[in-house]
């Protein structure tokens, strides 16, 4: 495994994140002869979509599906390309001068990058319902990680709730793995169809249409699907029941999911300009067609650039890498961009339909009353709304008053909710309200790690802060 002491002080390209975008970018850059390092926080590459692709104990290929297996090719491509791939490497800082702070096994380093491709992907949209902090309530993505990486299948009474492609895919995977699901509580409003319908023709031409229909059939044949307008996890010290539509269902595990949103923390902390995407209901970086951000030399590729899925992420990674290669080594051969852009366009075709169809209901994005919004500081929706009523105009002021967003997750599980709550309460838009101002370190770094920086680097950081 790559250690901190193996790292050079400078690389032409630093890629952050080992999902499809990061792997494809590292493959292209390495092949073109750029000195390239890929930092990935997880024990193995693959990102969330191809999580544990090189080590999964799930031997039966049918369980996770062929799309998952496609990740193997990307890993092989990145490995033969010549890039250094460092796993267990947490990037805690990135500044506009492209100085990258990274920790591997408790050892910290500062690396100067000629260019940076941020490929930090997506995370699941917050799903703030009453009781979502109880042990026994987990994100669907989390359960999928356990299945892919450790071959763990939900056991006991499992209820799934929410909507979106990942929820249905996970349901199918659990069933194929011999698991049982008591019910799927579909929280997507039926009227979403009205806005989705005009985009149906495009979706039908996309690679996702046939697969999606097949998946829904597979799951619906074996699991009762109930449309719900309200949802609550009930229990004292852990989940005991799921309450919905005036009914209660005993449950040991509740898996929540209502789509994914870009993981913006690192890019925002680096000063990259972001904008509100009203269709996808999230902030995303402002990028040009090569995925260059507002900060020179820093690109954002993959789902972090706006949600489009794993296959699109890889194409975006390639495009960003080609831009880096052209900037740093114009004589190096690069693949035909036209072809890559065409493939990307095809991948993105069905997106509008999926976005509108799986647009989470307002009530599940903008909760009320005692529902916890900020899991770290245990701030409720009612408190955020009340403070907004008192005149608090934005998330940063809210942070100062309520401490929401100040905990270790740094707003990753409350940021969008707080923005939307303030907008709702003040009758304005999320674009107007904005997001938390983020500063490095974007991941907690210990005093011991800080002390492990080679002396010159530690001084530089101390002076800059």
């Amino acid at each position: 495994m790559t250690q901190a002491s193996d790292l050079a002080a400078h690389y032409d390209l630093v890629v952050i994140g080992g999902g499809p975008a990061g792997l494809a970018a590292a493959a292209e850059a390495g092949r073109a002869g750029l000195s390239t390092v890929l930092f990935d926080e997880n024990p193995g590459v693959g990102g969330q979509i191809y999580r544990a692709i090189t080590s999964t104990p799930v031997a039966d290929r049918a369980i996770l599906g062929e799309d998952y297996r496609a990740g193997s090719d990307l890993v092989a491509e990145a490995r033969t390309g010549g890039a250094l791939i460092a796993n267990g490497a947490t990037v805690w800082s990135l500044d506009p001068a492209r100085l990258v702070g990274v920790s591997i096994a408790g050892q910290a380093r500062l690396i100067q990058a000629g260019r940076v491709i941020v490929a930090t992907g997506s995370l699941e949209r917050p799903f703030p319902i009453p009781g979502w902090t109880l042990p026994g309530v987990m994100s669907a993505g989390g359960a999928q990680t356990l299945l892919k990486a450790q071959g763990l299948v939900p056991d006991g009474r499992t209820v799934m709730a929410g909507g979106g492609p990942l929820l249905w895919l996970l349901a199918a995977q659990i069933l194929r793995a011999g698991g049982r699901i008591e019910a799927i509580l579909d929280t997507m409003p039926r009227r979403n169809w009205l806005r989705a319908l005009p985009h149906l023709p495009d979706f039908l031409l996309s690679p996702y249409a046939a697969k999606g229909v097949k998946l829904l059939r597979e799951v619906r044949a074996r699991v009762p699907v109930i449309r719900v307008a309200e949802l609550e996890a009930v229990g004292d010290d852990r989940l005991r029941e799921v309450s919905f539509n005036g009914r209660r269902l005993p449950a040991d595990l509740l898996l929540l999911h209502q789509g994914v949103v870009p993981n913006v923390n690192l890019a925002m902390a680096a000063g990259v300009a972001h904008e509100w995407n009203a269709r996808q209901l999230c902030f995303q970086p402002v990028l040009d067609e090569d995925f260059n951000s507002s900060v020179p030399g820093i690109a954002v590729a993959g789902d972090g650039a706006g949600i489009a899925g794993g296959t699109a992420a890889a194409e975006r990674g390639r495009i960003a890498a080609v831009a880096a290669i052209r900037a740093l080594r114009p004589s190096a051969p690069v693949p035909d961009l036209q072809i890559i852009r065409q493939r990307l366009q095809r991948e993105e075709m069905g997106r509008s339909f999926l976005d509108w169809l799986n647009r989470p209901a307002d009530s599940f994005r903008q909760p009320e009353g005692d529902t916890i919004v900020c899991r770290c500081e245990e701030v409720t929706a009612g408190q955020v709304r009340a403070v907004a009523d008192l005149g608090c105009e934005g998330p940063n002021q809210m942070k100062a008053f309520m401490r929401c967003g100040m905990g270790p997750c740094q707003g990753r599980l409350c940021g969008l909710t707080v923005t939307e709550l303030i907008a709702d309460q003040r009758g304005t838009t999320p674009a107007e309200v904005g997001y938390y101002r983020l500063r490095p370190p974007v991941k907690p770094i210990t005093v011991a790690e800080f002390a492990s920086l080679p002396i010159a680097e530690g001084e530089r950081l101390a002076v800059e802060n």
Binding site: E41, L123, L147, V153, E378, P408
Partner: protein
Amino acid sequence: MFKRLADSGKSVALTVDGRPVDCRAGDTVAAALLAAGVDRCRTTPVSGAPRGPYCLMGVCFDCLVTIDGVGSRQACLVPVREGMAVETQSGRREAGR
């Protein structure tokens, strides 16, 4: 809450709050806890409510535990090692303490 699909991996022995727990090479600490039926990692500093792993991808920090004496490590990011001593924790959540 969870069962193992393929019980093929090499066995790894840990202790959780002093109790022996058997898990598999390739587990993260969070996966090992969940597979052993341990569904809480810590209590919160604000209300003392119990929390267990939620995201399993290093984002939520609800999985913080003390590993070999080092507090507030993200259980979902740390691979298991033979002989590891894992302790659930209360309140604290500052990295490394």
